[in-house]
Symmetry: C2
Subunit: 230 residues, 2 copies
C-alpha cells in the first residue's frame, strides 16, 4: 500500500533538494491596541508539516502566525501577526518555492479601520464592527505565471468534502487537506485526521498524532509532486 511503502522509505528523503514553504498558525487582526480578532489554530499541524518536510530532505521555510511553539530543527522561520503580513511574507518567498503548504488558519476578515487608542465602552450601547476581507494568500499564488505546487487546507464544521473539493477546483490547487473542526476536533488538540483530495484521487488519513499525520501528508505531497512533474 502506498502509505506503508512511503512511510517505510521515509529515510529515502522524498523531498531532497526541494524548497518547501509552509504557513502555520492563526493570524490576529487588531481592533485596537488591546483587542484583536483571532482564531483557534495552535499552529501544531503546520509546524509538524514543516518538521516532516525537513525530515524528508527539503529546504523548509515556515511563515508562522502568533503561536507559542518552538521552531522545528533545521527550519527557517518568519514570524508574522496579521493576514496581510503573512501574505507579504509568503509572496516574497514564492519565486524560490517548489511546494507551498498553506496550513495557516488565515483570518478572512480584518477590522476596516483599527483604532490607534483603546476603544472605550459606551454603557448599554451595542458596538458595530465593520470588517473587510483579507487577501487570499493561496489564491494569489495560484495566479502567478509559474507557481509552486499548491497544497491548501479546508477547516470546516459542515459539508467538509464538498467544500474542500470545490475549493481545490475553484482556486486551482494541486491538493487540499480537509479538516473537520467541529466538536472541538482539529484545532488546539494534539491529534487530528485529514481527508486529502487531488484532481483525480483522494486519501483518508485517520486520526493520529499530528507529527505522524504530517509525515503521511508529506509523503502524499511528494508522490503527487513527482507525478505532476513527470
Amino acid at each position: 500500500e502506498l502509505r506503508d511503502a512511503l512511510v517505510a522509505s521515509f529515510g529515502d528523503r522524498l523531498l531532497a533538494g526541494r524548497r518547501v514553504l509552509v504557513s502555520a498558525g492563526p493570524t490576529y487582526e487588531d481592533i485596537d491596541p488591546v483587542r484583536f480578532i483571532g482564531n483557534r489554530s495552535s499552529g501544531r499541524m503546520g509546524f509538524a508539516v514543516a518538521a516532516a518536510a525537513h525530515e524528508a530532505g527539503a529546504d523548509v521555510t515556515l511563515v508562522a502566525g502568533p503561536v507559542s511553539l518552538p521552531t522545528p530543527v533545521g527550519v527557517r522561520r518568519i514570524d508574522v501577526r496579521s493576514a496581510r503580513e503573512m501574505h507579504e511574507a509568503v509572496l516574497a518567498n514564492a519565486a524560490t518555492t517548489d511546494i507551498y503548504v498553506g496550513a495557516a488558519a488565515v483570518g478572512d476578515y480584518r477590522p476596516e479601520a483599527p483604532a490607534s487608542d483603546k476603544l472605550k465602552k459606551h454603557d448599554g450601547q451595542p458596538l458595530h464592527l465593520e470588517l473587510t476581507e483579507n487577501p487570499d494568500i493561496i489564491g494569489a499564488l495560484a495566479v502567478l505565471p509559474s507557481h509552486p505546487f499548491l497544497v491548501g487546507f479546508a477547516a470546516e464544521t459542515q459539508s467538509i468534502a464538498d467544500y474542500a473539493k470545490d475549493k481545490l477546483r475553484r482556486k486551482g490547487l494541486d491538493m487540499i487537506a480537509a479538516n473537520d473542526v467541529s466538536a472541538g476536533r482539529g484545532f488546539e488538540v494534539a491529534e487530528n485526521a485529514l481527508h486529502i483530495y487531488w484532481a483525480d484521487g483522494d486519501a483518508v488519513l485517520p486520526n493520529m498524532p499530528k507529527t505522524e499525520l504530517a509525515r503521511q501528508l508529506v509523503a502524499h505531497i511528494a508522490d503527487r509532486y513527482r507525478t505532476k512533474r513527470t
Copy 2:
C-alpha cells in the same frame, strides 16, 4: 520607606488567614467555532499577584482566562474562556473572599449571536459584527451588600491617571492599579510599571519584573486592607 519596609518584612506573611481571589488573563468571545475576539493579556501580572498573595500567607483562588501559564504553587485555579464564564466563577466565590484583585483583561463586548457553524466568506462583501456588552465583574461585586476589598486594574493607552481615578470612584473600588499599555508596554511582556490609587493616596511602582511588581502591589493591598479594617 514603606516599600522597603514591606519588602523586608514580607516573610511576616502580611495576608495570613486572608482569602484572596484573583482574576487573570484575557477572555475570548467566540464569533463562531473557529474565530473569536481576544485581547493581548498574557495573564502574567495576575498569576504573579496570585503567587505573591500565596507567599504572603493568603488562601488564594485564581480564575484564569485562556493562557499558557503554569499554576502558581499552592494556588487553587479555575479555568474559564469567556467573560460570562469568568463573571460566574468570580461571583460564585465572592462570599468566601476577603480581597478581590481583578487583574484579568475582561472583554467588554461579545458577538451578539455566536454562529454554531463557521461563517463563510462572501467574496467582496464586508462583514458586520454586532457586539453586545459583557457583564461588569468588579461592578457586580461592588454592589453586593457585603463585598470583598476590591482592587481593580485600568489598562489604558491615554489619559491613564484620570481614567483610573474616575474608575476607582465610579465603581466604588478600594484600590486601582493603572497600567499604561501604549507602545507595547504592559501586555505580553515580562516587566511592567503601575501607578496605584486609593481614595486618599497613591503610589508609583516603577518598571520592574512582574513577579517583583506583584509582591509590592500585594504589600500595598495588605496595608490598605489593614487600614480599612481598623
